[in-house]
Subunit: 389 residues, 2 copies
């Protein structure tokens, strides 16, 4: 028996920009990002979340004019695709296939770009398509929701839901660049606006007490969408998220590195149980409420800390309870409990749930005690039954 | 405009073993690879190339017994899948989906394994499935052809052919381990045996004059499948291939790093033009013959070097011509010529074709001169029309 041990290292670097009006005259962001001249124009495919296209009817035209003004560097591929967004749209390959088909038909190459404009689900589908075409063309993400701008749209993952399992199929594939354009946030429906703030609470509670204090202090301004407060929270949350991926030592989660998934075991299951009535951000809020109360019962938070957390979340408009938490399965167990095993399967290996330890720090636990969890649900329902999505 | 520049590094390490009788008692290879104990058994899915399963009817049973003897570390998922192999099998998602469905049904986790036993196409499909499930479970490759053992089965790529384009969809995803078991080579059909040697010529001609001399000196022994000579050539070719991936500075080919693809622009197109009558290895041999003669016409090889190359390839049983090279498209051009643009699209950016410069060194050219190529085809047809696959 002979053996060759192959070792390879792959380095990724991508900028995450925070701007307003990316495609308007005088905004230097895009040209700053692509300042070196290309030998020949890069093909650019574009897909826009239908929900975004409806609220921003001039967007496609703006994008066409933007690239038409840069003919030596970019060749826009038409048509601009309008794809369904939202969690329900990523339950099969259909939207992804539309991108694959256009790429094949218009003969893009591995150095071509896919610009994806939309919420987290649209970006997940576009990211998967981009990572598969010629084994990976260049993805430009333009997240249009609070959630995507501070969390899902800036990281290294993509995916679609198949066989009833959240993100069952996907890849780790960093983008070439991310453009967070705050202008899009002005038109977000309330549920999306508030929902995105759940990810800010998530990272604050387990990593950054100062961010939590600013969420608490700014709760009313955040709820009212005061732009400066919101921009500061999004940028801070994004930075914490990016730092976590970079410094965790295992950005593609080969081993047992933990992504920032506090509150997510229940969130993923709640999304499914509700038939996607409850959006991801709102589901994360409910998941955080559950795990916060559970942490408190385990002595990791005192009652005052727990109540300050729930109060702040409530104040920005986040839900803390959903009636779907009472659904039972065939055996009479609470259906939400199956989320624990599904969560373990997705990450692999031993179950590991992140819980806050005080505000701003965290520990991992390897089981969820069922009796304690039942008590937590009773408490939340009794206290916050009206705080539903 | 603010910006955060995200930098991440991902390190991969995997062993490539060379052995015989991996699943037989007393072979320590597998246990050496997985010597650390697991907290709980890892699930293992297995898929076997139908062609291999036919010639090795006891293989599935051997694998079952092998894992049954290691219950604390592995839990074999049944059934063992028997999937169609060969290039034609990877032209859609069907075989890949069989793996995805079993993974979903049997609830594998990201730390579970997929063991794939077969030729390059089977490994490509299994690798794609493994890289997508939960964003990547652990792939064990067991290549069963000369070609896969020294080239396709040891690298970092996978893929399927879609929309008429070779490997249009795929990912870069290194395996967890590769087990090259020489026993499988004994039962290879002649075309596969010889075809695999084309990849040895490929790497020898552009990287290693010494390997070329040993191919020339050992041509008759290689044709007769003399085990020691074959094993040495396979191991040497594999090592050169792995070194190229590791040392090229861009293992996932984001920029313009060149994979080892001398002779491949024509090879990929010839496979398609022939409706896969011509296998990958044989197509590569014809592609090498074309680019060798072309390099000679461009003054990069002298006529003596060219003739020694063609002679050695012929002597091991490789084809140097295929009648499909004369097919024309609607406009009356040679259909093979479209392979040049398809090749450029897949790698992205500017066309770059690797040619030998003397034996054992190489240069890149950025165009193929049509008149010279026509002369080359005339020469090959006139001299080697009988050397067809």
């Amino acid at each position: 028996m002979n053996v060759i041990r192959q070792k390879i290292k792959v380095a990724y670097e991508y900028p995450v920009y925070f701007t307003r009006g990316l495609f308007t005259d005088g905004n230097p962001t895009f040209d700053t990002c692509f300042k070196s001249a290309a030998a020949e124009p890069h093909k650019v495919m574009v897909c826009i979340d239908q929900g975004v296209a409806r609220v921003w009817p001039g967007l496609a035209r703006d994008i066409e004019m933007f690239f038409a003004a840069r003919p030596s560097r970019f060749e826009l591929i038409l048509p601009i695709l309008r794809l369904a967004g939202g969690e329900a749209a990523k339950k099969d390959w259909r939207q992804v296939n539309k991108i694959l088909e256009l790429a094949a038909e218009r003969q893009v190459c591995r150095h071509s770009f896919l610009l994806a404009v939309g919420g987290g689900s649209l970006l997940d589908m576009a990211g998967l398509a981009a990572s598969l075409i010629h084994r990976g063309l260049r993805l430009l993400r333009m997240p249009t929701t609070v959630l995507a701008q501070c969390d899902g749209g800036i990281g290294v993952k993509n995916g679609i839901d198949r066989y009833g399992a959240k993100n069952f199929l996907g890849t780790f594939a960093p983008p070439t660049a991310v453009f967070n354009d705050f202008d899009f946030l002005a038109t977000l429906p309330t549920a999306y606006w508030c929902g995105g703030l759940a990810e800010a609470f998530k990272v604050a509670l387990i990593k950054d007490a100062e961010l939590f204090e600013s969420l608490l202090a700014g709760a009313d301004r955040l709820r009212r969408r005061e732009p400066k407060t919101a921009a500061a929270v999004i940028e801070k949350t994004a930075r914490l998220h990016l730092d976590h991926i970079r410094d965790g030592g295992d950005p593609f989660e080969f081993g047992s590195a933990r992504p920032l998934d506090f509150g997510h075991w229940a969130a993923h299951k709640l999304e499914t149980l509700s038939g996607y009535r409850v959006g991801h951000g709102q589901a994360v809020a409910v998941g955080i409420a559950i795990d916060t109360c559970y942490a408190s019962r385990q002595g990791l938070l005192d009652a005052d800390q727990r109540d300050r957390i729930l109060k702040a979340m409530r104040q920005v408009g986040l839900p803390l309870w959903a009636p779907e938490l009472r659904q039972t399965d065939e055996s009479g167990d609470l259906a939400i409990l199956a989320g624990i095993e599904e969560f373990r399967q997705h990450l692999g290996g031993r179950l590991a749930i992140t819980l806050p330890k005080g505000i701003g720090d965290r520990i991992e636990v390897h089981e969820i005690k069922r009796a304690a969890l039942h008590d937590v649900l009773d408490f939340l329902e009794a206290s916050y039954a009206e705080c539903t999505p």
